[in-house]
């Protein structure tokens, strides 16, 4: 499997606030061609910022303070704007939660697609039209030629998201970042989009990073997953392994507090006690120590946590202390 993206020890910090903790700490991840990596986390986990940092689209006041991002062999950490423009669209593409934001309401679908296509390659009008029709068909539109003439306001949320995905895929990027792409869509529409993303990832040999707070969605779409809490990666591995056999207390807490179709009041949900640490005030060492039901005093607050591997599956690892019962 070709490794398309490697992030090594990524740390993102707040600018000009030296006494605050980093908002993403020592993140490592890898995405290969044809696989979907899910990033799961709640508010303040840093999952969205991780996605944005890959394209150097971090908001003002936040910057990459350490680490490396390697894409397709190239080091793209903190690349300059002109280089980035070539990367964005050809190497990477991103789909956001709100499809309305990506679609200029005054342009037709056809124009939107040609805008994106032309930004990276000089092609003839005819070629672009052919490419557009092709990608619209790939994302599931039954009559693509007709669709080219539609305006975004004529489309429902789900269809708009499909257009946004088409725009993301038209230049055949190697890596697709999807940040909560289905969160604002209806359940029945969501299913279609998830299927679409999975299908295209496999077919086009893309490396997809799928960011979500919804464990059920991640279970549906991701091959492997990393769980983030307050800027730290606390567990990672194959989705099946992590979700059926969670090792980190936070992952376990997350699963126990998420309602599923199998939940009932006979087995009440077990919320994680306490509140998320405010941004920039993550406890040093283990981020979860203040809320961990399995905390061992003297161990968890004294030393930094280390990585443990699942004996059954080496790629399934979590960050903890040896004193905590496995």
């Amino acid at each position: 499997m070709t490794k398309l993206l490697s992030i090594i020890n990524l740390t993102i910090s707040l600018e000009g606030r030296p006494n605050t903790s980093p908002i993403v700490q020592n993140l490592n991840l890898e995405v290969s061609a044809g696989e979907v990596l899910g990033i799961v986390g709640e508010s303040g986990s840093g999952k969205s910022l991780t996605g944005l940092s890959i394209l150097n689209m971090l908001p003002k006041g936040v910057y990459i303070s350490a680490g490396q991002i390697l894409a397709d062999g190239k080091d793209i950490t903190r690349s300059e704007e002109n280089k980035l423009r070539t990367y964005r669209g050809q190497l990477f593409s991103i789909v956001f939660q709100d499809p309305g934001a990506a679609l200029n309401p005054s342009r037709t679908v056809g124009k939107l697609l040609s805008d994106v296509a032309r930004a990276h390659e000089k092609s003839s009008k005819r070629d672009i039209r052919k490419k557009s029709i092709g990608i619209l068909k790939d994302v599931g539109f039954p009559s693509p030629e007709e669709r080219l003439k539609s305006f975004p306001f004529q489309l429902s949320g789900g269809l708009r998201q499909r257009v946004a995905i088409a725009m993301a895929l038209i230049n055949r990027p190697k890596i697709l970042i999807a940040d909560e792409p289905t969160t604002s869509l209806d359940v029945s529409v969501q299913k279609g989009i998830l299927d679409l993303i999975r299908k295209r990832t496999i077919k086009d040999r893309i490396g997809c990073i799928f960011i979500s707070h919804d464990l059920g969605v991640i279970a549906e779409v991701a091959d492997k997953v990393i769980i983030m809490y307050s800027g730290q990666v606390v567990e990672q591995g194959p989705t099946a392994s992590v979700l059926t056999n969670p090792k980190h207390p936070y992952t376990r807490g997350l699963i126990a507090s998420a309602p599923s179709m199998k939940s009932s009041l006979a087995k009440p949900l077990k919320p994680i006690p306490g509140n998320l640490p405010p941004v920039g005030r993550t406890p040093s060492g283990c981020a979860f120590q203040d809320r961990c039901p399995e905390k061992v005093f003297g161990a968890c607050n004294a030393a930094n946590p280390t990585w443990f591997n699942d004996s059954n599956d080496q790629s399934h690892r979590w960050l903890c202390h040896s004193e905590v019962e496995k």
């Binding site: 707040l14 006041g61 429902s156 949320g157 909560e180 969160t183 604002s184 707070h213």
Partner: protein
């Protein structure tokens, strides 16, 4: 930090300027010579003459002390006018934003009529019906300013009405009046603080205009507008008779507008300046926005 300074510079310097003008207006007359004292021999002296830093007018009266006394009149009239205008304007604006359609409609029409009416004409009518005096002047200021204040207040009230917290208030039993006063009212305060200096500055000009037309402060009480009127005939020979009060009006106006602008930048800046990276995690929080 740089943003903080940039935001506050305008406000700081404008406020400083207004403060200086107020201090001069309040304490000036104690130090300057009598503005009413005539000295025909020394009439029409240019600025920087001995003992008369701004020169003298056709009757030998010291321009500097007339400016300082005139400042008092202008500031009192515009300050009281502003307070009156904002009070009436806020009440009318609240009424216009009420849910009751007829009351709101009535209030809106009143505002429209006021704004459409030719102001100077109205002023002439009122002054002829009564007299030209300071209370009448203040009344005219209120009349001039309340409608535009009401419009601003009304638009804020209308934009707050559909918000959830207002609906929540009615759900616990609040009447429309309670909602307007207790719930929406306090949200108007920043806007009022921003409009106030702008209204005051407009009233400075208005007072000067009315006095220039002879409808305002009557001679021999010094006023900036009155000085413009008196100096008009001497425009070619004694430029300082009109230019100096003109500059006084301009500086006062600009300072007040600066305070208003500075306040609105400061209030806007407070909201946009705060960087909260957790807000980039809006994805999960905004998950409820259905398309």
């Amino acid at each position: 930090m740089r943003d903080l300074i940039r935001e506050s510079t305008l406000l700081f310097f404008s406020s400083l300027s207004v403060a200086i003008i107020c201090i001069v207006a309040i304490f000036g007359p104690f130090f300057a010579p009598d503005p009413l004292e005539q000295d025909i021999i020394n009439s029409l002296l240019p600025p920087f003459s001995q003992g008369h830093i701004f020169g003298t007018d056709p009757l030998g009266r010291d321009i500097f002390s007339r400016i300082v006394s005139g400042a008092r009149v202008s500031l009192i009239v515009s300050l009281l006018g502003m307070i009156g205008s904002l009070t009436v304007g806020t009440i009318m604006g609240l009424v216009s934003g009420a849910r009751n359609q007829w009351i709101a409609w009535g209030s809106d029409r009143l505002i429209d009529i006021q704004m459409a009416f030719p102001y100077i004409l109205l002023a002439i009518v009122i002054v002829s019906a009564t007299t030209a005096s300071i209370p009448v002047l203040i009344f005219l200021m209120v009349l001039a300013g309340w409608a535009s204040a009401a419009r601003v207040i009304r638009s804020i009230v209308l934009s707050e009405q559909p918000k959830d917290y207002v609906k929540a208030a009615s759900l616990v039993g609040a009447t429309q009046k309670r909602i307007l006063v207790k719930y929406i009212g306090p949200t108007l305060i920043p806007a009022i603080f921003t409009i106030a200096p702008l209204q005051a500055s407009a009233m400075i000009v208005m007072e000067a205009t009315l006095s220039f037309l002879g409808l305002g402060v009557q001679p021999p009480t010094p006023s900036w507008g009155g000085m413009l009127l008196e100096g008009k005939i001497y425009l070619s020979e004694a430029w300082w008779l009109t230019t100096i009060p003109g500059i006084a009006i301009a500086i006062t106006c600009a300072s007040l507008i600066g305070v208003g602008e500075g306040l609105s930048i400061k209030l806007r800046g407070d909201r946009s300046r705060r960087i909260d990276p957790s807000k980039t995690e809006n994805s999960s929080l905004k998950g409820s926005a259905k398309l």
